[in-house]
């Protein structure tokens, strides 16, 4: 897949006049059923603009990426099953509600994925979080599994897999293999990331059509070094050390 322009469009709620809906580059749309892209609101675009800007300082980078991560977690949680649950409220009125069904856990792909844990905790306080460390083999440049520590009963849980950037998808695909080998059903895995490449998303959709990807933005593509463009650079470095 080659690099092509992402679409530009007026961003903002429909009821606002066009003059108040400035033009910006929005996510590419993909015709893949398992890829869910967050609504391209002006706020989301503004937060993404902050974290893409190389002159943004670390504190702002952390704050705005966390804001988007929370939106991603909220959206991912909406894919979990619910059961009808009727209650009577404190003021004595009936409410046709729902109850969350099924237990969850988070799994972060170290180290950048760990940056998304805070947002997950803000939505699910005592959630269990497993970790997977995958590094690129320096000789073969293939991803290699170095370490994993996951909840013992992970096969009975819904897994929210955390990795902010989906580029070639190499390490994420390997992480999925780990999860599947522990008995997690494919359809119980939700993979969330901030920015995805069309190549990575397509590769995923082909290999694991039942895994849902929730992403904030599908970028133009990958450059010759397999960096997402325009991207935001190395997420882990910007979040932890730069």
């Amino acid at each position: 897949m080659s690099t092509q322009e992402a679409p530009n469009q007026h961003v903002g709620p429909d009821y606002k006049p066009t003059s108040e809906r400035p033009e910006a580059t929005v996510s590419k749309s993909l015709s893949l059923d398992n890829v869910h892209i967050l609504p391209q609101t002006s706020q989301l675009i503004a937060c993404l603009t902050m974290i893409r800007d190389k002159s943004t300082n670390r504190a702002d980078f952390i704050f705005y990426s966390n804001r988007i991560n929370r939106l991603l977690v909220e959206e991912a949680l909406n894919h979990l099953p619910v059961l009808p649950h009727n209650i009577t409220t404190a003021v004595g009125r009936p409410y046709a509600g729902v109850k969350f069904e099924g237990r969850i856990c988070g799994v972060s792909i170290m180290r950048a994925g760990e940056a998304m844990e805070q947002a997950l905790r803000e939505c699910c306080r005592s959630v269990r979080i497993g970790k997977i460390l995958i590094q690129r083999d320096e000789e073969t440049s293939n991803p290699t599994l170095f370490y994993d520590k996951l909840p013992a009963d992970i096969k009975d849980r819904w897994v929210i897999l955390l990795d902010p950037m989906l580029a070639t998808g190499g390490s994420a695909l390997m992480a999925i293999d780990v999860l599947l080998s522990k008995g997690v059903p494919e359809e119980h895995i939700l993979f969330i990331n901030l920015i995805a490449s069309p190549e990575g998303a397509a590769k995923f959709a082909k290999k694991f059509p039942k895994i849902r990807i929730v992403t904030a933005f599908v970028d133009e593509g990958l450059n010759e070094k397999n960096y997402i463009v325009p991207g935001l650079g190395d997420f882990g470095d910007r979040f932890y050390t730069l």
Binding site: N8, V11, G12, P13, Y15, E20, P22, E23, A24, T25, T41, S42, Q43, I45, A46, L48, T49, R52, D53, K54, S55, F63, R67, R70, L71, E74, L77, N78, L80, V82, H85, I87, T88, T89, A90, V91, R93, Y95, G97, V98, K99, F100, E122, C123, R125, N223, Y227, I228, V229, P230, G231, L232, G233, D234, R238
Partner: protein
Amino acid sequence: MSTGQRQLSPSSRAHLPNGHFPVLQRAHYEPPWSNTSIIGVAGSSGSGKTSLSLAIINQLSLPWVVLMSMDSFYIPPQGEQLQAAFRNEYDFDSPKAIDFDLLVEKLAEIKAGKKTDIPVYSFEKHARLAHTTSIYSPHVLILEGIFALHDPRVRDMLDLKIFCEAESDLCLSRRLIRDIRERGRDIEGVIKQWFAFVKPNFTKYVEPQRNVADLIVPRGIENKVAISMVSDRIHKTLKEKSKEHQQKLRHLGQVSEDMALSDHINILEHTNQVRGINTILMDPDLDREEFIFYFDRLAVMLIDKATEVGTRFKPCAVHTPVPDEIYQGLQVDGEVSAVVILRGGSCLETGLKRVIPDCRTGRILIQTNVRIGEPELHFHSLVEDLAEYRCVMLLDPQMSSGGAALMAVRVLLDHGVKEDRIVFVTYMAGKMALNRLMSVYPEIKVVVCRIVEDLEPRWVEERYLGC
């Protein structure tokens, strides 16, 4: 009462731009502090006007009664006059020393229910100080000064005209004490002023005000009967005002009963998570820790939505760390401010701080009088230059009758905020309340999670705050 259509006047229909929704004619809301009752208290210098006014206020022991001294309206003497003032040779006891034009202007503003800045006059410097004090939303204003009943334009705005009477030796001794203790004068200066200015002016200008007064009060604060007569009368006026206010609120409710919800009302999308959280929140057996956690989560979604609705954005191209890569993004254009309607609104502040950590936040305390169900404005402390912000969010977790919301929006408008920059953020609201609010202020926006039955009692803040 049929449909909202009946509110369309032929003239407003004629001006409809093509392809737009018909604009409903605005309903009108008068806050209880509009048409402020003003009481004038005049009398000779040292006759005990201030003590009498304070005694009346004390006896009332009510908020919304404000004392304004005419001393604030002295015209600062200039040039030779200023020198004279420092020599105690300037006539402060003549009506010419008072800026009646400014006084009339300010009284009219107060009467219209607007926020009014009152000058501060310094007797040490004989000048107006740089800062002003602001008066906002009194239901009753007591105007106190030797010439409170002098100007016919002022008299026309007074609802009660009081003349304070005292023996002249009593007046002189009081004046001596006050000017020496509080205004840093010496005894010769004060006596010189008395005979040069105070005494002749009294006969010429002060005393004639007796003839236009409704009530002449001898013996000042010792006159307990007069004080309770005045306070009774004020009580009666306040009661009438409150009745009128409630009647208007009820009327607004009837008018808006059958209206469809305005498209300025943004209801949070009811995803599985939102429904699930609502279910948890409404369970009466839920412990408070859980309630706070889930409410905060929902509050973030509400504020997120409100930011989307109220903020303006502008294009912004940025360089990403990947070499030669530019992203055409957006940037927030103009700052967002928030005003918390206490006490309930504070439940939404955690959510606010998670989205906009440094949001400047004003606070207003509106309490519903449990006895009569009327909302009352007790306190406000707002961000300076509130009118400059691109978006002002009003936070209140519940809108029951809409009375407090109407009042809060009015407070913002009175402080110069443009109607279309206000976003009211609430967790739950009754349809009638929303329609009331939108029929009066059709340009504001509302972000709400749940539309509930009308007049649901306020319970969210009780759960969240635990009392």
